[in-house]
C-alpha cells in the first residue's frame, strides 16, 4: 500500500559543496576562454592604472542620479534651444547643394584676394567709378547674386 506523499526532501548542499560547485563551473569556463580572458585582464589593468576604471565605477554606481541630472540639464530651455538651433542649422545645411557652396566659397576667396589688392592700391572710389564698374561682368554677376540671395532670404522669412 502506497500512501500519498506530499513532502519532497531536497538534497541540501552544504556551503562548502555549493562553493565547490560554483568554482568548478567557473574554472571550466575560464579554461575554455583563456585567450580572451587574458586580453581582458590586460585591458582592465590599463584602465585601472589610468584611473578611468575608478571614475567609471563611481559613474555607474550613481547612474540613476547622473541620468536624472543629465536629462534635467538637457530639458532647460537654453539647452533645448541650443539643440533645436543646432538641429535647425544642421537641417538647413543639408539642403544646400554642395556644388553651389563650393562655387560660392571659391568666389569669396577670389573676392578677398581682389579686395586685398584694392586696399594695397589705396585709390579713392567715386560715384562714377561705381556706375562704371556695374558694367564689369564679374561685379555685375556678384551684385545679381547678392540681390537674388536677399530675395530668397526674404521669402524664407515670410513663413
Amino acid at each position: 500500500m502506497a500512501q500519498p506523499i506530499k513532502i519532497i526532501k531536497k538534497v541540501e548542499l552544504t556551503e562548502e559543496q555549493q562553493k565547490a560547485q560554483s568554482l568548478e563551473s567557473l574554472l571550466s569556463e575560464v579554461a575554455q576562454n583563456k585567450d580572451s580572458l587574458l586580453d581582458t585582464l590586460q585591458l582592465l589593468q590599463e584602465l585601472h592604472k589610468s584611473g578611468i576604471l575608478d571614475a567609471m565605477n563611481s559613474l555607474v554606481k550613481a547612474k540613476e542620479q547622473v541620468a536624472k541630472i543629465a536629462v534635467g540639464q538637457m530639458t532647460r530651455e537654453p539647452v533645448t534651444n541650443l539643440i533645436n538651433n543646432a538641429m535647425a542649422a544642421g537641417g538647413a545645411l543639408t539642403t544646400l547643394d554642395p556644388e553651389m557652396t563650393k562655387k560660392l566659397m571659391n568666389g569669396v576667396a577670389n573676392g578677398l584676394e581682389k579686395a586685398e589688392q584694392g586696399l594695397q592700391s589705396n585709390s579713392k572710389v567715386g560715384i562714377l567709378d561705381l556706375l562704371k564698374v556695374l558694367n564689369d561682368p564679374d561685379i555685375n554677376r556678384a551684385i545679381g547674386f547678392g540681390l537674388n540671395l536677399l530675395k530668397g532670404v526674404g521669402e524664407g522669412l515670410k513663413d
Partner: protein
C-alpha cells in the same frame, strides 16, 4: 475564369480580378501603401484614413474601394499624399511618439512603421491628452487613452470577431475614447480577457501588463526619469525620421534578446498556434499571427495569458524516489535504474500484462508514439491507453462505425461556413473559446443559424435561435425522431443515401418507433421544437453538428454519436464542405494520442493489433514478437489492480486520481500498486502515489507536434530551456527503454515522427518539413495526403460507402430516490481541467478563485440557499463541500459543478462514478445524481464581483464608424464616406 477588369495604377495598365479592392491588390503585389486600421481578417474598418488614393480625380480609401473597369488610380499623387498626410497628422494628435522608451517598439508597431514609411517629418496638430486616466484595473492588460489613435480595430475585433461585445467608442462625446460596457473599468466589465484587442492594437494603447517595463532596454526606467525624458524629446522636437532611426536601432537591439518562438496552445483541442515572446526564462507575451491556420489573431484568456505555470516554483525539476514517507531527490541514473529494475522485475515475475501504461492528451504525438512503443516493444503488453477514454472515445467510435474515420469531418472554416450549427452537449464559449468565436461571428454577421441543445444555458444557448433543454442522457431519442421526421417529410437526401450509404432499410426500421410523440415523452422536448429543428436542418445550406461531453459521458455516448452521424448521412451533410460531424476535442492532443496508438487495441493510425498483417509489419520494425490480444483500457486496468492482476503502472502527464470518475476508488487503486512511475511536471495527487517521479517538461520547453480537433498536425518549437534537471518527455521514455536494454537512438522528435509515418498510411506524406513554421497537415486519407475535408472521394470503407449505424438507445442509469438532484459538470472558461496548470496563474485565480455549485433560482428558493451558502453534495460514491451560486443557467433540479478542483474537499469526481459507456467504457460522468445538505446559510459569493459573468454585454455592429463621420467637427478626407457592412468582405471560405 473569373471576370477581369482593366485599371491603371500609377500609370501602369493592369488586369485585375473583378471585385478586388485597391488595398488588397496593392498588398498582394507588395506595393507599399500606408494603412493602419485595415486587416485582412476584419476587412475595411475605414477609421484611420491613411490609405487614401486619387481615383479618377477624387480621393478614395484604398481599403474599401473596389476596382472598376477603366479606373485611374494614383497611390502617391500630390492629392493622395496630402490626404494621407492629413490623416496621419490627425492620428499623431492622439499618439505621442516616444518609441525608444515604449514597450511596443518591437519592429511591429503599425503606427510607427506607417508614419516612418510615409516619411512624416513633423506634425501640425500637437499631441494633446484626452483627459482620461490610464486604466490599469485589469490583471492582464491596460488601456492608455492618451496613446489611443481611435482606429477602433479593438472594437471591431471585440464586437465582430471575438464577439464578446464589450468594447465601443463613444463617437458622440466631446472627446471619444474606447469604453468597456459603455464606461466601466476594464476589470468590472464583461471582458473575458481573450486579449484579442491587445493583439490587434496598432500601437501601445492596449498593452499586455507582462510587457510593461520589460520589453525595452530603457522602458523599465522609473517615472521620475521617464517623464522628463519624454518631455525632452517633445521640447527638442527632432524631426520624426530621427526618432524613428533611433528607435529602430533600439528595436534591433531588443531583437537580440527577445526570442520569438512559434508554439501550439495546450488548453483545449482547437489548436491555436502563436508566437511566444520570451526573455531568458521569462514569458513576455503571447503574440498571435494572421498566419496561424486555425485561429489567426484569436486567442482565449488561457492561451493569451495562462502560462504562469511554466515558471511556477512548484515545478518538479529533479527525479524523485519514494523513501519512507518522503520523496528524495535522485539522479537520473538512480531513478531510471530503479524504474527498469522494478518494472522489469514485475514483468519477469508476473508477466507483461501485469503492467499498464497511461499516455496523455497533453504531451506530443512523438511522445505518445513512444509510450505505445515502450509498452509493446519493451514490455510486451497492449495494456496502454490515454485519457480520450475519459472524454471522446465514444464519438470516435461512432464516427468509425458510420464513416470510417474517428475525427472531425472537416475544419473550423467549415463550421463557420455552415448554414446551421447544432451544438449538442457542448459549451464551446467556455471550453473551446476560439472555435466559439467563429460560430458567434457567422451567426452575427452572416446569417448562420444556431441551435443549442444542453441541460445548462451557457453563452451559446443565450445566443441561439433555438435553445432546448432535453432530459439528461436522452439525446439519442430526439436525434432519431428528428431524422425520422425529416425522412417522413421527404426532406432527406434520397439520392445521396442511395449512392453513398448502406443499411438504409434496416435503419428505417430501427428508427420507426421514434415518433414525435414518443420523443416528446422521453426527452421532454416539445413536438413543435422537434419540428423546428427538422425544418432548420431542411432549410440550411450545410448543417454542422458539434458535440462534447454532454453526449459522450453517458452510458449511451457511443450510440448517440452514431445517431448524430446517421442524421448527417440522411440529410447529405457529409462528403461536402461547410457541414459535417465535429466532436470537439477537449485537450490539445486528444486526437493525436489516439492517432498515435496509445490505445489497447490499435497501433498508430488505427491499425488493429489483432490483424496479423499489421502486427507483422510492426514486429519487423520493432524486432520483437508483439502480443495479438488487445490489452486493457484505463477502466479495466483499475479493475485489474483490484483483482491483483495488475502490479505496476507507468502514468505520463495525467492526473488520473482526479480525472477518472469516482476519485476515492481510483486513489485506492493507485495505492494498491506494487510500483508506480509517474512522469509529471507537478506533484499532482497522482504523483503523490508514485514510487518514482520523473520530471518531464511543459510544451514550451520541448519540440514536437500536436494534432487538434480538425485532425490538423502542427509543430511546436522550443521556446525555453528546460527547467532544472527536468527533461523532454520523449528523452525520458527513450532512457527508460535503453535502461531496459533496448537501443533507441532518437536525437530529435522529427526522427520519431518519421518512424511513425513510415508505419502509418494516414501520415505517409507528412514530415517535419511539411510542418515547417506555420504550415500544418490534416490527416484523413488512406493514401496519406493532406485532407482538410474527409470523404470527398468516398468513405473510409472498402466499398467507399458510409453505413447507417444500427445501435439502440440505452436509457440513463437510475439512482435511488434520495439522490434527487441531477449533477451536471464540466469546464468553465478561466480554468483547464482539474486546475493543476491554471491555478498557478495569479490573474486567473483572481478572476475565478474557486469552484462552486450552480443552483437554479427555484431550487434555491425551495431549499433556502443563496449565493455563498455552503452546502454538501452527496452521491453514492462520495461527498464534496462547496459554496452555492444561484443562477438561471441551470433549471429545476439540475445543479452544475465545474471540474476545476484537485482538492479532497471540492473535486467533482469524488461524486461521479459507476456507470460507463456501453461500448468504450467512458465513465458516464454526466449521469450522476446527488442530494444537497445545507451547512452554512451565510457565506461569501464564490464568484468575484469583477468576474465577467456579473456584467452585461453591450452589443453593436462593429465600430459603427459612420457615427464618427456624423460628428459636427469631422472634416471628411475621402470624397465618399460609406460604411461597409460588417462582415461583407469576410473571406471565410476563400
Amino acid at each position: 475564369m473569373s471576370e477581369k477588369v482593366n485599371v491603371f495604377i500609377n500609370g501602369t495598365a493592369r488586369e485585375i480580378e473583378a471585385g478586388t479592392r485597391i488595398l488588397d491588390y496593392l498588398i498582394s503585389q507588395d506595393i507599399q501603401h500606408p494603412h493602419v486600421c485595415y486587416s485582412e481578417i476584419l476587412g475595411p474598418v475605414q477609421s484611420c484614413d491613411t490609405c487614401m488614393c486619387e481615383v479618377n480625380g477624387t480621393i478614395m480609401r484604398a481599403c474599401s474601394t473596389v476596382m472598376e473597369e477603366g479606373m485611374n488610380i494614383l497611390t502617391a499623387s500630390e492629392v493622395a499624399k496630402k490626404a494621407q498626410e492629413e490623416a496621419m497628422d490627425r492620428i499623431l494628435e492622439n499618439h505621442l511618439l516616444y518609441c525608444t522608451v515604449c514597450d511596443n517598439n518591437n519592429g511591429n508597431c503599425r503606427v510607427h512603421n506607417t508614419a516612418e514609411m510615409m516619411g512624416v517629418q513633423h506634425q501640425t496638430r500637437p499631441h494633446r491628452s484626452k483627459g482620461y486616466e490610464v486604466d490599469m484595473s485589469h490583471p492582464f492588460y491596460r488601456y492608455d487613452p492618451d496613446q489611443c489613435i481611435l482606429c477602433g480595430r479593438c472594437v471591431e475585433t471585440c464586437q465582430d470577431l471575438q464577439v464578446n461585445e464589450t468594447l465601443m467608442i463613444d463617437w458622440e462625446s466631446q472627446q471619444p475614447r474606447v469604453l468597456w460596457d459603455g464606461g466601466k473599468s476594464i476589470n468590472e466589465s464583461s471582458c473575458v480577457s481573450c486579449g484579442q484587442c491587445v493583439t490587434v492594437c496598432p500601437c501601445n494603447a492596449l498593452m499586455e501588463k507582462s510587457m510593461l517595463g520589460n520589453a525595452g532596454f530603457m522602458t523599465g526606467i522609473e517615472d521620475d526619469l521617464l517623464t522628463p525624458m519624454i518631455d525632452l524629446v517633445k521640447a527638442v522636437e527632432p524631426d520624426y525620421q530621427t526618432i524613428f532611426a533611433v528607435s529602430e536601432v533600439e528595436a534591433a537591439m531588443r531583437d537580440t534578446r527577445i526570442k520569438k518562438t512559434k508554439t501550439v496552445c495546450t488548453f483545449c483541442g482547437v489548436g491555436c498556434s502563436f508566437e511566444v515572446w520570451t526573455k531568458d526564462h521569462e514569458i513576455l507575451k503571447i503574440e498571435p499571427s494572421e498566419n496561424a491556420p486555425v485561429n489567426s489573431v484569436s486567442t482565449c484568456v488561457k492561451g493569451k495569458f495562462g502560462w504562469d505555470f511554466v515558471n511556477s516554483k512548484e515545478r518538479i525539476t529533479t527525479p524523485l524516489i519514494r523513501k519512507g514517507d518522503v520523496f528524495v531527490e535522485a539522479s537520473w541514473d538512480e531513478a531510471l535504474d530503479l524504474v527498469a529494475e522494478k518494472l522489469g522485475g514485475i514483468k519477469d515475475t508476473y508477466g507483461s500484462d501485469a503492467l499498464g501504461f497511461i499516455a496523455s492528451s497533453k504531451i506530443t504525438n512523438e511522445e505518445n508514439y513512444l509510450i505505445q512503443k515502450l509498452s509493446r516493444q519493451v514490455f510486451g503488453t497492449n495494456n496502454v491507453d490515454n485519457c480520450s477514454r475519459y472524454c471522446q472515445s465514444p464519438a470516435s467510435w461512432g464516427l468509425q462505425q458510420t464513416g470510417g474515420i474517428g475525427g472531425d469531418s472537416a475544419t473550423i472554416q467549415d463550421i463557420a461556413g455552415a448554414g446551421l450549427v447544432i451544438l449538442v452537449g457542448c459549451a464551446p464559449a467556455e471550453g473551446h473559446p476560439v472555435l466559439a468565436t467563429r460560430i458567434k461571428r457567422a451567426h452575427k454577421l452572416h446569417g448562420q443559424k444556431l441551435i443549442t441543445i444542453d441541460v445548462r444555458k451557457h453563452e451559446m444557448a443565450d445566443r441561439a435561435d433555438l435553445f432546448v433543454r432535453p432530459r439528461q442522457g436522452t439525446d439519442y431519442v430526439w436525434l432519431s425522431a428528428v431524422t425520422k421526421y425529416i425522412i417522413d417529410q421527404g426532406w432527406h437526401d434520397e439520392e445521396f443515401i442511395q449512392k453513398h450509404v448502406n443499411h438504409y432499410d434496416e435503419f428505417l426500421n430501427m428508427i420507426a418507433p421514434y415518433t414525435l410523440e414518443e420523443a416528446e415523452r422521453m426527452t421532454g422536448i416539445s413536438q413543435e421544437a422537434l419540428i423546428q429543428i427538422a425544418e432548420m436542418i431542411h432549410d440550411a445550406d450545410g448543417t454542422a453538428i458539434c458535440w462534447g461531453m454532454g453526449v459522450t459521458q453517458n452510458i449511451a455516448g457511443s450510440h448517440t454519436s452514431v445517431a448524430i452521424a446517421n442524421l448527417l448521412l440522411a440529410t447529405g451533410n457529409m462528403m461536402r464542405r461547410n457541414a459535417g460531424a465535429f466532436p470537439l476535442r477537449g485537450h490539445n492532443n486528444v486526437q493525436g494520442a489516439a492517432d498515435m496508438g496509445t490505445m489497447p487495441n490499435i497501433f498508430p493510425g488505427y491499425q488493429q493489433v489483432a490483424s496479423d498483417e499489421v502486427r507483422t509489419k510492426f514486429e519487423k520494425a520493432y524486432g520483437v514478437t508483439l502480443p495479438a490480444k488487445p490489452g486493457l483500457d484505463n477502466i479495466e486496468m483499475l479493475e485489474a489492480i483490484d483483482k491483483g492482476e495488475l502490479k505496476g503502472m507507468y502514468i505520463v502527464g495525467e492526473d488520473m486520481a482526479w480525472v477518472d470518475a469516482d476519485s476515492n476508488h481510483t486513489q485506492a487503486m493507485l495505492a494498491k500498486l506494487d510500483f508506480l512511475v509517474v512522469q509529471e511536471i507537478f506533484l499532482t495527487t497522482t504523483a503523490q502515489f508514485a514510487d518514482v517521479i520523473l520530471p518531464g517538461v511543459p510544451s514550451l520547453e520541448k519540440e514536437g507536434t500536436f494534432t487538434n480537433t480538425e485532425r490538423r498536425v502542427q509543430r511546436l518549437y522550443q521556446a525555453l530551456e528546460t527547467t532544472g534537471d527536468s527533461k523532454p518527455d520523449w528523452w525520458i521514455l527513450q532512457q527508460v527503454a535503453n535502461h531496459m536494454g533496448f537501443n533507441w537512438n532518437y536525437t530529435h522528435p522529427s526522427e520519431i515522427f518519421s518512424e511513425m509515418a513510415s508505419l502509418t498510411p494516414f501520415f505517409k506524406h507528412c514530415n517535419y518539413n511539411v510542418l515547417e513554421g506555420w504550415n500544418s497537415f490534416t490527416w484523413g486519407s488512406p493514401d496519406g495526403t493532406d485532407t482538410p475535408v474527409l470523404y470527398l472521394d468516398g468513405f473510409n470503407f472498402p466499398d467507399k460507402k458510409a453505413r447507417f449505424g444500427l445501435f439502440d438507445y440505452v436509457p440513463p442509469v437510475e439512482f435511488p430516490d434520495e439522490f434527487d438532484l441531477a449533477l451536471d459538470n464540466g469546464r468553465l472558461l478561466e480554468h483547464f481541467h482539474e486546475g493543476n496548470l491554471t491555478h498557478k496563474s495569479e490573474g486567473l485565480q483572481y478572476k475565478f478563485p474557486k469552484v462552486f455549485v450552480e443552483v437554479s433560482p427555484e431550487l434555491a428558493k425551495e431549499r433556502g440557499v443563496k449565493d455563498g451558502t455552503i452546502v454538501r453534495l452527496v452521491s453514492p460514491y462520495g461527498a464534496i463541500r462547496l459554496p452555492v451560486l444561484v443562477t438561471d443557467r441551470v433549471e429545476g433540479k439540475t445543479v452544475y459543478v465545474p471540474m476545476h478542483s484537485s482538492s479532497h474537499e471540492s473535486a467533482v469526481n469524488l461524486l461521479t462514478g459507476g456507470a460507463v459507456d456501453v461500448v468504450t467504457h467512458t465513465p458516464a460522468y454526466k449521469q450522476t445524481k446527488v442530494r444537497m445538505e445545507v451547512l452554512e446559510i451565510d457565506g461569501e459569493n464564490p464568484l468575484p464581483r469583477f468576474n465577467p459573468r456579473n456584467a452585461t454585454r453591450t452589443p453593436q455592429m462593429g465600430l459603427e464608424i459612420y457615427r464618427k463621420w456624423e460628428r459636427g467637427d469631422y472634416v471628411p478626407i475621402s470624397s465618399v464616406n460609406e460604411q461597409v457592412k460588417p462582415g461583407l468582405y469576410d473571406r471565410r471560405n476563400a
